[in-house]
Each structure stands twice: as structure tokens, then as C-alpha cells.
Symmetry: C2
Subunit: 418 residues, 2 copies
Amino acid sequence: MTLMKSWVASANTAGHPFPLNNLPYGVFSTETLDPRCGVAIGDMIFDCRAAEEAGLITLTEAALFDVPFWNEVMEEGPELWAALRARLVEILAEDAPQRAEAQPMLVPQADAQMHLPCLVSEFTDFYAGRHHATNVGTMFRGAENALPPNWLHIPIGYNGRASSVVVSGTDVRRPWGQLKSPDHDRPAFLPCRRFDLELEMGAIVGQPSDGPVTVDEADAMIFGYVLLNDWSARDIQAWEYQPLGPFQAKATATSISPWIVTTAALEPFRVDCPEREVELLDHLKDTGPMLYDIDLAVTLAPEGGLPSEIARTNYREMYYSSAQQLAQHTTSGCPMNPGDLLGSGTISGAHTRQRGSLLELSWGGKEPITLESGETRAFIEDGDTITLHGRCHGDGYAIGFGTCEGKVLPALDDPYAR
Amino acid sequence: MTLMKSWVASANTAGHPFPLNNLPYGVFSTETLDPRCGVAIGDMIFDCRAAEEAGLITLTEAALFDVPFWNEVMEEGPELWAALRARLVEILAEDAPQRAEAQPMLVPQADAQMHLPCLVSEFTDFYAGRHHATNVGTMFRGAENALPPNWLHIPIGYNGRASSVVVSGTDVRRPWGQLKSPDHDRPAFLPCRRFDLELEMGAIVGQPSDGPVTVDEADAMIFGYVLLNDWSARDIQAWEYQPLGPFQAKATATSISPWIVTTAALEPFRVDCPEREVELLDHLKDTGPMLYDIDLAVTLAPEGGLPSEIARTNYREMYYSSAQQLAQHTTSGCPMNPGDLLGSGTISGAHTRQRGSLLELSWGGKEPITLESGETRAFIEDGDTITLHGRCHGDGYAIGFGTCEGKVLPALDDPYAR
């Protein structure tokens, strides 16, 4: 596939993240428009609500775009997803007869504020990157016990907190929490000292399940992907996580990028999962290429300073695909719903600067990294802005995810003051 | 406080679970009425929607009861909660002038089907019963390491899966899952062999939080309590839970009783938490009696057989109150919402027959218990019905929770057949 041209000129710029091939879905507002669904095309957003109201999009009897979230589109299912994408391509393609009518429905991205693209029903975070699990396991349990015994057999994960999912651009307040220093006998309630990022992809579940689903069925249930930063309070986590897993350490915030890149747009970038060290059980077996070749990077910008790239990796480094994670999630009969968000787990590559968390980049804080300014970082400092970047490189075009960004504000002096 | 009399005669019967002192909130339907909010009074349900439509309840400008869940009432806050309760007492009290008007708004409970009383926003399950944690810890890690190091300092918990919460009476299908027998080298995908119950109380959060809240604030945010059975697949849990906690083992179903008993009804039954072995940090310190004296029992009825009581305990056996759990849940800034459900953790007493799970009752399956029929149980067998019972004993009256019941159906032959 090569670049599909649009009458929205900026979309045809070489390397633009949002060409006609992409068409990612978001929710935006402006000074004059209340929050509504839109599609990114070049530097603009095409207002889906306006298009539906004007009769340019008429795929269903009931309105799809009378609500400021994409869940209703998801609920309609894959046939509607395909029809909607086809119609948007028709309207926005180079020689579209609808150009004159559609032109006023464009809003510059620069004028828009982005919101969460969907109501997040529930949030699950996996631990399915092998390099990450090996790095963390080596730090905590030694190289010989790095991977837990179940790790090569199931994508392990934990339920996160949907209420703490925020859209890119939302500031993140350094949390307080109960933590215990190794050199103290008792815990204390203090601001987090080891606040971290986690570079992940988030899969948005678009269809419900009622009973266990196969990997192929799970793959077809996924609506699209976002960048996801699972902010992590490492010192709180270390004290609280045994034996029930991470809880408050992961509940301050999880940031996602505002644009859902659909599986249709990602289709040309499918790649296989890595070779299996042990054979997976039938219900998790690979049935085709279900990862995607997505270049990922993390930048850190100190307060008032320029961003430094601190990590670069690729989504294909995952050991388990989101389809396998979703299949595993249904084995117990657990009902899945449109709007469920599945974090891939931290994505790290084999090499030092391919690590998707400061915990790994600074090896538990012992080897701080150096920024371009010469400053060093073991963990995130107040005022730092962390930005995730994601992009697929096609034949003469790109599929971009935009960015997933958050600035860390200092902890409150007194978290109980109101 | 003594028995408050109602013109609904059955409510005045000695020991009835639903006297005028109780007034628990549920959602019901009948052959002719679609699902709606109602209040249990004696053997009847008072139809709140009908009462509001007829102008008998007029506490807010917008309708409270045009939806089949109690979340809108919760969102209104404690003043409205008190006003609504006062109005219901007025309407249903012995000499109420509204009796003639209200009479037709009563529906026999025997004719009603119960639904979930609220939309469950998110579900968190704690591990805050000391006897339970000690029993389980002793089985898995030995008596000397029974309690994890953090246990006496924080109520530890994990996020569960709201989509799997079902109302009492819903059958529960024995799940399949990935598990590994100690005598096998590799895991297998099999039906659960160690399916269990967990006797818990569920606290329903009625107000949102935006930042950390104190224990007193948390206590005031709780709308009411239900009985809760957190069905648990012990063999799936044993294989999956390290290091991220329980996941699919707890995702098949969690059953709750249909009636939310309000904190107002429970007020006379407040009791202190147990003495603290180590002093709690300020943000979790006891500030007053925040547990409740609620007698609890579990019965097990084999298919076609009579129920045997297998456990009897009391909610006051908890180490941490729901208010302390909720306060801990907000320490990171995690936003809480109306409809959030907090499982107390399994409630066990000090003695053998006070244990709230078969895992403890049969000591890991090694000492099966004997039912009244002479049958034995290590874990739940297909066709077994598990019922939780809860009741506060007042001065000449009771506050009952009704029951939380579920029958376990055999695993599917092929979980992927459709």
C-alpha cells in the first residue's frame, strides 16, 4: 500500500502522521464546539457529528455521533467499522465530490482540545514484554529467577483502575503513599520518590464477549490501539504488591494518546510474535501475525528545557499479542465489553536504550541516565514532561499515533488539605 | 432503638429481616413491571418509581427513579440519603396518612425478580480479615511467615472485574483455566478442580473522591453494604497469581445480595476494629467504631439436597473497616466513583467452623468437611448451591441482608463451542 491522497493538503505531506491511510478516531472540542467525535486528517479534524447531522454519514438508523465517545461505533461491530472507514475515505479522498460540503466540517487540530476517545469500561494491564520482565525480574530476584514460572505459558496481567485513565496532556500529580525504606523498620506515608513511566500500547476492545474466545476471535474484537503510559510509583509498589499485585502504585494515572488508530489502518504492519521458547497451549497458540511493526520512542523534557530521547523500541518486541492477552482474559468466562482497555505491558528491546521505563533505564536508580542538557535522571523529577511517540513506516507514508504526553507536578504539601 | 412499626404487617413479625428499621434498596421487576428501584418492607417491595411518579416522593427537581439502578440517588449525597430514608419511614410507618395511596405501590417479593441494585463502576477486593490471611498464609508460606510484612500496616487489595459482578440467584458456571498440577512439568487447560466461595461484605461507595480522603470522610462516602461471594478458582489462582495477583481465578463471577442495607440502618450496630498489634499510620488510624456487628453464615446445599451450615462468623472479625480500605484506595489520588464496590476480604473467625472459605474449612482440601447428609466437601461440586446469610440483632428487631446465593453449574464440555 502506498500513500492515499486527500484533498486536505497537509495529509499528503511526506511522513505526516495522519494521511488518508490512517484516519484515527478521537474526541475533540473547541471554543465553539462541545466535545464530539472526529477523525484526524492531516493537520485537521473532520467533525463526524457535523457530517452525520448534515447527512454525509448515514450508516445506521440511530445516530452514531450524538455522544462524545466512540463506544457506540464500537458496539455496532466490524461491519460498521469497515463501512464507516470506507465512507470517510470516500469523503476525504483527493477527488471526492463531497469536498465542498465537507470542507466546513474541518477544524484545525491547533484549535482543538482533545478528550478521552472513549468511555473506558475497565482497564487491564499486562506484563507481556519479555525484555521488560527479564530486566525487572533480574533486578528483584536475580538473573536465574528473572521470569516467573508461568511467564512463558500465559500473558500475566492485573486489573487496573479505569477511573484513573486520562487523556494525553493531562498533568499528573506526584502521589503520596505508604512506603518503607530498606533502612527503616516501619513504613511511612510520604510523597513517592521513585516515580516512573511505562511505555506501552493500549488495545481498545470494541466488541463484547460472553464466554471464552479464541485468539482469532479476540483479534477481531479489537477496535484499535493507542499509546499508553502507565505511570508507576516504584517505592509504593515495592511495599504493597505482595501478594496481591500492584494497587495504589498504579492508580494515580494512566495516560493514553487521544487518537485511536484502527486495526484497519494498522493492517499492513502486522508482524509475527517472536519464536516460542516453550510451545503455547492451544487456547493461546499463534494463528497468524498479530503484533504490529510500530516504532516507539520516549522523550523527557525537564521544566523549561528541551526534550531528550531516552528510549526507542518497537511494539514487535512483545512476546504476547493483544489478541492473546484478550483471549486469556476470557478463559474464566470473564465478560469483556466495548471500551475495555488492555495495556500491553512495558515494551523494552534487548539493548540498554531500548528500555521502556526509567526503572530499567537507570537499573533501579543505580545508573542514572544523562539527558542532552547534561542533567541526569534516575526517576522522574517534578516538572518533567514525558512524551511517548509511535509511528509505522509504510511505503511512502506513515501511520502516526500522535503523542501521549504528561507533565509531573510536585506532590501536594498536605494531601488531605481541601 | 427498638422495632419501628409499619402498616405493612409482615414487617412487624418478630425477627423479620426487613422491618421499617431496615428499608434496604434494590432493583426489581415483575411480569408486568420493568426493572425499577424499590425498598424492601416485610415481605413486600415498595415501588419507588411508582411513588415518585405519583408525587409521593418529591425530593429533587429531576427524577431519581426513572432509571433501574440506585446510582442517581447515591450521586445526590448524604443529605438526600437522609431525606429519602425519612420520607420512606413517613410513608410506611404504622399510622401513615399515605397508607391508602401507597398500598397499591407494594409488590410481593415472591412475585419479583431481583436485579443488580446499582451499576457497578469498578470492583476492588481486599484481604483484610486477619484470621483468613493467617490461615491462607500458614497453608502457603508456613505459620512463621503467615502474614505478609505489609499486612498489619495497610489493608492490601487488588482491583477485580466489575463486569463479572452478578446478582444473587445467578447460576455460576465452573470455569476452565490454565493450571499446573504439582506433579506435572507443564500447565494444562482444564476445568477448575478447586472451585471455592469467599464470604465477604461488599461496601457500596456512594460519593466520588478527587484526591486522598481521610478515614472519616471515607466512612461518610459509603452508601451501604451487601453480602458478597467472591467465587475463586484456587488451582487457577495458584498458577497465575505471582507476581501480579489474582486475575482469571477471580473473574468468573462475584455474587452480591440484591438489597443494599444502608449505613443509616446499620448505625446502631457499629463496633470498634480489633486492637492494633502495631500502630497504624495517621492516614489509616481508627477514629471511631467503623465495623458492624453482623452475624454471617454460609450454607451449602448439594443438588436436590438440603442446605448444611458450613460456616458462621461475624463481620466484626475484620481487621480493617471498609472506611479504612476506601481511605487507602484514595492515597494515590485514585478517583473513586458512586457504584464502586469494595469487597471486605474473606471473613473468618478464630475457630474452625468460623472460616469463610472451603480452602480454609478443608485446610487446602486435606480435611474435607462433612455435610448433614453425610456427604463430604473439600471444594464446591457441580450442582452445589452456596448461600450467604447476614443479620444484625437489634433490641426486639433484626436488620437482615436477605441472602446471596449461587448454584454452580458443570463446566462446559468445550468452552470454545458456540
